[in-house]
């Protein structure tokens, strides 16, 4: 018995086929299922809100770089050294840096390396997402400018310390993407310079930008700095021209005011890393590792101004101003008193009787409410530096430049010093050393001017000749070989080399 007529069978077959086809056609969306409880790269970086937040996320990576930038910026230079605490046992990895005996696996170089690249990855994501989405240029351009500026800032930091580095300009999308070969410094600088030139155009000026965000003046200052490092003096001058005469920028009358937490993003500030005092996780604590040990809790309280002082004496003292540095200031330089302070130590195993007074960096020390939660911003570029960079660029083109001399003398005048009558390279460098003391400029200044090796070697000899002047307690000596082999460029950290077959 054939219940189904041929026609009915045909209809049935067609129905079946069409059901199958319709099921097949909705397959794409059926298989695209994204998380509803977490945002993912599959559904983010698409709207204006997403990109605004993503740019803020780039800034959020800055503290990771600047919290400990003093290690390679100052601590490896002749400005500072450490005070040995004999109850701390083994040589610490930070001491390796001061002694230029840094091992490749040192976590501090690894931290600088990875912190910069975290920022770069975030910037790349923003840049690529802004390009591929269809955003209004009035929205996209300033954000692109910020991302380019911040990326250039990070690459500039990396290329100065590490030389040839991996170059990423896009977000990684596969395992192979994570392993890039080293790019020559010239290639890195190429990217930095083109990024900054573009950023300078896209970013608003300081007078119309939200305080704390990148501005075109910041981009041009960084660009000027880049050209000075590369000794491209006329290009530096051209870039810095956009800054020197910018609206709303000028020197604070009072040096201290440039660093005051109540004057954040002030008229002298070109770019600062933003922090916020308090328990929310945005506080800074720069001074803490630099305070001499041991001190009593009440001394901590008096110095820091906190209502809950604690003892924090189980450590070495890092980044201590050297006597040579302190002595290098001219008499009457207000910057010395502001930048360096002194405190009487408590007796300890280091000094059982008659403990000495030790100096420490007071530049970023301002009273705050709770222990470990200060609110100091970190100055990346100040107008004073822009003037000094311009002075150097002009000087290098014409050693008799009066404009250059005027810039230097403006800075000196603010410091309470007599004007110079003529400039030398050393005079400019010394002015930088004192004006920008402890702002992570010194090591790079010495390196770019070829002075690093002789200066640090001499410091090594001075340490061996008089260890106690360099804060070694009586009866202790510096480790063998300190400052005999000066590191002018750091090896790519083990953390990267071990996982990247492109790097030895």
């Amino acid at each position: 018995m054939n219940i189904l007529s041929k026609k009915a069978m045909k209809i049935r077959n067609i129905l079946i086929l069409s059901a199958a086809i319709s099921l097949g056609s909705c397959s794409e969306s059926f298989l695209e299922i994204n998380s509803e409880t977490d945002l993912t790269t599959g559904n983010y970086f698409q709207t204006e809100g997403d990109l605004t937040a993503a740019v803020n996320g780039i800034y959020a990576a800055l503290p990771g770089i600047y919290n400990n930038a003093w290690m390679l910026g100052e601590f490896a230079s002749d400005n500072t050294y450490y005070a040995l605490n004999i109850s701390r046992g083994d040589v610490e990895e930070e001491e390796q840096i001061a002694n230029h005996q840094t091992l490749r696996a040192n976590p501090n170089t690894a931290e600088k390396f990875s912190a910069n690249y975290i920022l770069i990855a975030r910037a790349n994501q923003v840049i690529v997402s802004l390009e591929s989405g269809s955003f209004d240029p009035s929205f996209a351009n300033p954000l692109r400018g910020e991302a380019l500026f911040l990326r250039a800032l990070a690459y500039f930091d990396l290329v100065q310390y590490f030389g040839a580095i991996p170059l990423f300009t896009e977000p990684v999308e596969s395992f192979e993407d994570t392993r890039q070969p080293l790019a020559e410094p010239s290639e890195v600088y190429s990217l930095i310079i083109s990024d900054l030139n573009e950023a300078g155009n896209l970013l608003p000026g300081k007078s119309s930008q939200l305080p704390g965000r990148a501005t075109s003046e910041a981009a041009y200052t960084l660009l000027g700095n880049v050209h000075v490092v590369r000794e491209e003096w006329s290009l530096a001058e051209a870039a810095l021209n956009n800054v020197i005469n910018a609206l709303g920028l000028g020197l604070e009358e009072n040096y201290a005011n440039a660093f005051s937490p109540s004057n954040k993003n002030g008229r002298e500030s070109i770019f600062e890393v933003q922090y916020l005092e308090g328990p929310l996780g945005f506080a800074s604590a720069f001074t803490y590792p630099w305070l001499p040990v041991p001190l009593s809790a009440s001394t901590y309280g008096a110095l820091l101004g906190v209502s809950d002082p604690q003892e924090d004496n189980n450590r070495q003292t890092f980044n201590m101003p050297t006597k040579e540095f302190i002595d290098s200031f001219e008499d009457g330089d207000v910057r010395l008193d502001y930048s360096v302070d002194y405190v009487q130590l408590e007796p300890s195993a280091n000094y059982p009787e008659n403990p000495p007074v030790h100096p420490f960096i007071s530049k970023f020390l301002h009273p705050h409410a709770n222990f470990g939660q200060a609110g100091d911003n970190w100055p990346v570029y100040r107008y004073a530096e822009a003037k000094l960079l311009m002075a150097e660029a002009l000087f290098e083109q014409n050693s008799g430049s009066t404009v250059a001399l005027a810039h230097v003398n403006d800075v000196r005048a603010r410091a309470g010093l007599e004007p110079l009558t003529s400039l030398t390279k050393d005079a400019i460098l010394n002015e930088r050393r004192h004006e920008l003391a402890f702002e992570n400029k010194r090591y790079l200044d010495l390196k770019r001017t070829g002075r690093l090796v002789p200066v640090m070697t001499a410091m090594g000899e001075a340490i061996r000749a008089n260890p106690q002047e360099y804060y070694f307690p009586p009866g202790t000596t510096p480790p063998p070989g300190v400052l005999t082999s000066i590191i002018t460029e750091y090896e790519i950290p083990t953390a990267e080399a071990a996982l990247n077959p492109n790097i030895d």
Partner: protein, 1023 residues
């Protein structure tokens, strides 16, 4: 007298008439002989007229004689151990019957993926178990019933917690991070929830698919093997009711406390601790004898517990319609106080045949379970009540009532000179803690089957699996989890609510055709499955009153959280099965799966397979004489996948908490924190299988052998990436692990007079070896196990214990660690650097003295089952065992804390080193006077034991009443059953099947819920 003659004539006539009206003209006597397939008479065979209670029994010669009411009557011949045969009378008066034996496995029809197959024509590696063999076993979980019966399948009961803890591994399958459990398919639906919610009494048969060819139609989910479950649908014509009642009790047959110290010994050890250090012995310890035996804490927290399993099956099979309903109630109290598991289940399966072309069916199976458990996992002081109770010093009693209020004290030992710490009363903890979970689960299927033309069938089905869970875990303010805590303390309530829904639509077109001796079956299909899960957890602490446990009455609110998980799967399948005369067999199959879990650039995967068989015994050259009655060679190859890789792993996470400051305000920020992987895919398994199936003596003895070799690759793992990328890890597919092994299966049937013996045995040798990981992953250290190229996965990793430093000379002569002392433990200097180093979890191979110290994988696993029938008695014994596996007894780390003197410790510590003159057994070092870092914390061979075991899993003795003994009852059997009857092992811990269910805690014992011995009595009644 004339009248009498007429009267008797009329009577006769009337009788004749009445007989004719009652059809006596057709009533006849049928006789015959019942024999089995070797010509032997089968006495005691029940011969029934179908649909009536009219029956008889064959005599000692197998002869019978029965009155049948009509020539259309049907006679039913049945005897236990033989297949039931029905014969239509059809006017015959002599009907001789041949009863084929029941376990004719070779002629059985086996359920395989998407269809059925004759055992003789099977080319893949499949083992089938009939649920009738399992019905006597009272167990909450199906897999408990399967232990000992499946070749090459390791089923471990890792904990005795009711309703939990079964670990099933087919062919030694392990992965690195994806799951290793097989796929469970119930009535054609791959289920997404727990297999535990299903009442095992609903099950008709179970097929375990082991090789790639048999599993390949499950594609990306089949790499761990597939277990196909078919539920009862009623087969015999007519209506029947079956009732199964199984009730009894469980006891814990061992006492872990025996390994520890009693009160006198503990006080004595405390006394010696002070003496050895040259300190004055406190008064409480000066006379240890005064404390007697003390408290046996293991006995205190365990109890004898009842177990009940009742199920009723209604089955009705009419012409066009059949329905089966199975209702069940299961209740198992746990052998630890205040624990238990309860299940209510119902299943209704219906099938309707419209006509000879169209049929349809509908099943629905709701289940409700409720359990209450105390935490019994984890290391000491991680809240594991078994561990913590046993650590309690035996001088303390749970019934202590120092404040005289008639209630047990919440904290024991408030006198600090015993231990220095107040101890929580763990007995009270167990009684007052509430940890209840309720689960509702519904499985449902509906199908329509259409024979379009002859040989061409279309079947479409919709299948649903949904469930919801409600859990509450309340720790009252009177309960402290750990000894250094005091009560009363903040109570804590955790609530979990979740539900999931999964639907599956399958559309299968099957074409069957025979051309002469060529038989062909082709199948094509398209399926879509979708799953969504939503869960909510909320917690709060510090309730004002322990009687009100709501979240709002707590003073410290927690932060609630919710979660959503979802996936989708689309598949195409195809299979062609061909055979020539049933002698040359060939099957090719492929499944193409597209999954939402796979990366966007790798969405679809293909899973092909091919298998072939040759029934040598059908060849002419084999002849027909000789003992060999069946011989088949088969081989298969296929690719399957494991898709347990997480639902959203392919995406990079974006953290929207990356805020920043501008000026003095905080601005929200976002950043990607992990890398997306558009290439993310399934774990791949590439397997070949070669097997031979033999049968001897007219299929009375059957034997099977399989050799398999499979390579698992593309294992899901998190790789470290260079930091210049801005990230530190990437989840990708890496590595290769090779698995291979041999499986042997034997079944035999023997009749000696009236004694029927059936015996089955299986043994399997499973091995694995890591062939490759990744260039960035030279090895994996996880949970004190090492996975490294050249070794099997998850090897135990630690130091090699080498005695103690007996005296100063021994100490000076040997390598040591900087914390070593004379009298302390000595370890082998494996890396030869002259010092003893232990880097714990970060000790890369060669960097310290750790090495591979044990292997949780057995040399072989085996099982046996035997069934004896004599007259109406039946006896069954099932055993399973494992040989050569090591157990990592991590729970010992908490039991060798002898330095503190605060806890009960292993009795072996009486033989610790006490002085150079009294160095003890060399296994344990001296009492350091404080927590000994090495004996306890340095993981070494001291904690590795041989875990070989053989367990008599089931012992059953039953008696079946002869048919028709009681009017109205079709069959009645009473039986008695012992589960986990005897465990033969050298392992001193409680349960040699112990271990975690993931790769990195295989064979690790953290002192879990004890596994009981269960004794029950039962009744099977058929109406």
């Amino acid at each position: 007298m004339e009248g009498k003659k007429v009267y008797s004539l009329m009577l006769t006539f009337l009788m004749l008439l009445s007989f004719s009206f009652s059809g006596i003209a057709q009533q006849r006597t049928v006789t015959g002989t019942v024999t089995d397939d070797v010509g032997q008479a089968v006495p005691g065979t029940t011969v029934l007229v179908k649909g009536t209670t009219n029956g008889t029994i064959s005599d000692a010669d197998g002869k019978y004689s029965i009155q049948v009411p009509s020539e259309d009557a049907i006679l039913v011949f049945s005897f236990i151990g033989y297949q039931t045969v029905e014969e239509k009378v059809n006017g015959r008066s002599i009907i001789d019957v041949l009863l084929p034996t029941d376990e004719e496995q070779l002629e059985e029809v086996i359920v395989v993926g998407y269809g059925t197959q004759l055992q003789t024509k099977m080319t893949g590696s499949v083992q089938n178990v009939d649920a009738a063999e399992l019905q006597d076993i009272p167990a909450a979980q199906l897999s408990q019933k399967l232990q000992g019966r499946l070749a090459g399948v390791q089923i471990n009961q890792t904990t005795g917690a009711p309703g939990q803890g079964m670990q099933v591994r087919i062919r030694g399958q392990v992965s690195l991070s994806a799951g290793s459990e097989p796929l469970y398919v119930v009535d054609g639906q791959p289920i997404t929830g727990d297999i535990n919610a299903i009442n095992p009494n609903e099950i008709e048969s179970i097929s375990v698919l082991k090789d790639a060819a048999s599993t390949s139609l499950y594609g990306s989910r089949a790499a761990n093997g597939v277990v196909i479950i078919t539920t009862k649908r009623g087969s015999a014509q007519g209506t029947s009711v079956d009732l199964n009642i199984n009730t009894g009790f469980q006891q814990v047959p061992y006492n872990l406390e025996q390994e520890l110290l009693n009160a006198t010994e503990w006080a004595q050890m405390r006394k010696e601790a002070f003496e050895d250090q040259g300190l004055a012995v406190p008064e409480v310890f000066q006379n240890p004898q005064q404390y007697g035996e003390g408290t046996d804490w293991f006995r205190e927290i365990t109890r004898t517990a009842p177990i009940n399993d009742i199920s009723v099956t209604f089955s009705s099979n009419q012409d066009k319609f059949r329905a089966t309903a199975i209702a069940g109630y299961f209740n198992q109290k746990g052998v630890i106080e205040n624990t238990g598991f309860e299940r209510f289940s119902l299943r209704v399966n219906t099938d309707y045949t419209f006509n000879d072309r169209i049929s349809a069916g509908f099943n629905v199976a709701p289940t409700f379970t409720r359990d209450n458990l105390v935490p019994t996992t984890g290391a000491f002081f991680a809240g594991n009540v078994v561990n913590n109770a046993m650590l309690t010093p035996p001088v303390l009693s749970p019934n202590q009532d120092l404040d005289g209020d008639g209630q047990r004290d919440l904290m024991l030992d408030v006198n600090p000179s015993f231990t220095g710490w107040p101890w929580p009363n763990y007995y009270n903890n167990i009684l007052s803690r509430v940890n209840e979970t309720q689960n509702t689960r519904i499985l449902s299927n509906a199908y329509l089957s259409l024979d379009i033309v002859e040989g061409l069938n279309f079947r479409t089905s919709i299948n649903i699996d949904m469930g919801s869970t409600y859990g509450q875990d309340f720790r009252p303010s009177t309960v402290a989890a750990n000894p250094w805590q005091t009560v009363p303390r903040n109570s804590e309530m955790n609530i979990v609510r979740s539900n999931f829904t999964s639907w599956l639509n399958e559309n299968i077109l099957t074409y069957t055709k025979s051309f002469g001796d060529h038989n062909l079956e082709a199948l094509a299909g398209y399926t879509a499955q979708h799953y969504r899960f939503e869960g909510l957890t909320a917690s709060a602490q510090g309730h004002a009153d322990d009687r009100i446990t709501t979240l709002q009455s707590a003073t410290v609110p927690g932060v609630p959280s919710n979660t959503i998980q979802e996936w989708g799967l689309l598949s195409y399948l195809g299979r062609v099965t061909y055979d020539y005369k049933g002698k040359y067999l060939l099957t090719a199959a492929i499944r193409r799966d597209g999954s939402s879990r796979f990366g966007a650039d790798n969405r679809w995967g293909n899973f092909p397979s091919i298998s072939a068989g040759w029934v040598i015994s059908d060849e002419n050259f084999m002849g027909t004489n000789g003992p060999l009655s069946f011989a088949k060679l088969r081989a298969s190859w296929g690719i399957t996948g494991n898709n347990n890789i997480g639902n959203y792993t392919q995406f990079g996470n974006v953290d929207i908490g990356q805020s920043t400051v501008f000026g003095s305000a905080i601005f929200p920020g976002a950043a990607a924190t992990t890398i997306a992987n558009r290439q993310l895919g399934w774990e791949l398994s590439n397997q070949i299988d070669v097997g031979v199936d033999l049968a001897f003596f007219n299929d009375k003895l059957s034997f099977s052998y399989d050799y398999y070799n499979k390579i698992s690759s593309d294992l899901l793992w998190s790789l470290a990436v260079p930091p210049a990328s801005g990230f530190d890890s990437f989840t990708g597919n890496i590595g290769e692990i090779q698995f291979w092994g041999h499986e042997f299966l034997l079944n035999t049937r023997h009749r000696v007079g009236q004694l029927d013996i059936q015996f089955g045995g299986n043994i399997a040798f499973n091995r694995n070896e890591v062939l490759a990981l990744d260039e960035t992953v030279p090895f994996i250290l996880n949970n004190n196990t090492l996975t490294i190229v050249g070794s099997p996965v998850g090897q135990f990793y630690g130091l090699v214990h080498d005695g103690v430093y007996v005296d100063q000379e021994d100490f000076d002569r040997n390598p040591k660690a900087n914390i070593s002392q004379v009298g302390g433990p000595k370890y082998v200097d494996v890396n030869g650097d002259g010092v003893t180093t232990y880097d714990g979890a970060s000790g890369a191979p060669g960097s310290d003295d750790q090495t591979i110290i044990g292997n949780p994988i057995p040399d072989f696993i085996y099982g046996m089952n035997a069934n004896l029938r004599f007259k109406n008695f039946d006896f069954t014994i099932v055993g399973s065992g494992s040989h050569g596996n090591d157990i990592f007894r991590r729970s010992l780390q908490g039991l060798v804390n002898h330095g503190d003197g605060l806890m009960n410790v292993l009795g072996e510590l009486k033989d610790r080193w006490r002085s150079p003159e009294n160095p003890g057994s060399g296994k344990w070092g001296k009492n350091y006077g404080s927590t000994p870092p090495q004996d306890r914390d340095w993981v070494s061979t001291n904690f590795v034991y041989d875990g070989s075991f053989f367990t008599i899993k089931t012992l059953t003795l039953g008696y079946t009443l002869p048919a028709n003994t009681i009017k109205g009852i079709r069959s009645l059997r009473v039986y008695s059953n012992v589960q986990n009857a005897f465990v033969f092992t050298k392992y001193p811990g409680s349960n040699p099947e112990v271990g975690g269910t993931t790769t990195f805690n295989l064979g690790q014992d953290f002192a879990t819920f004890p596994v009981p011995r269960t004794i029950t009595f039962g009744l099977n009644v058929g109406f």
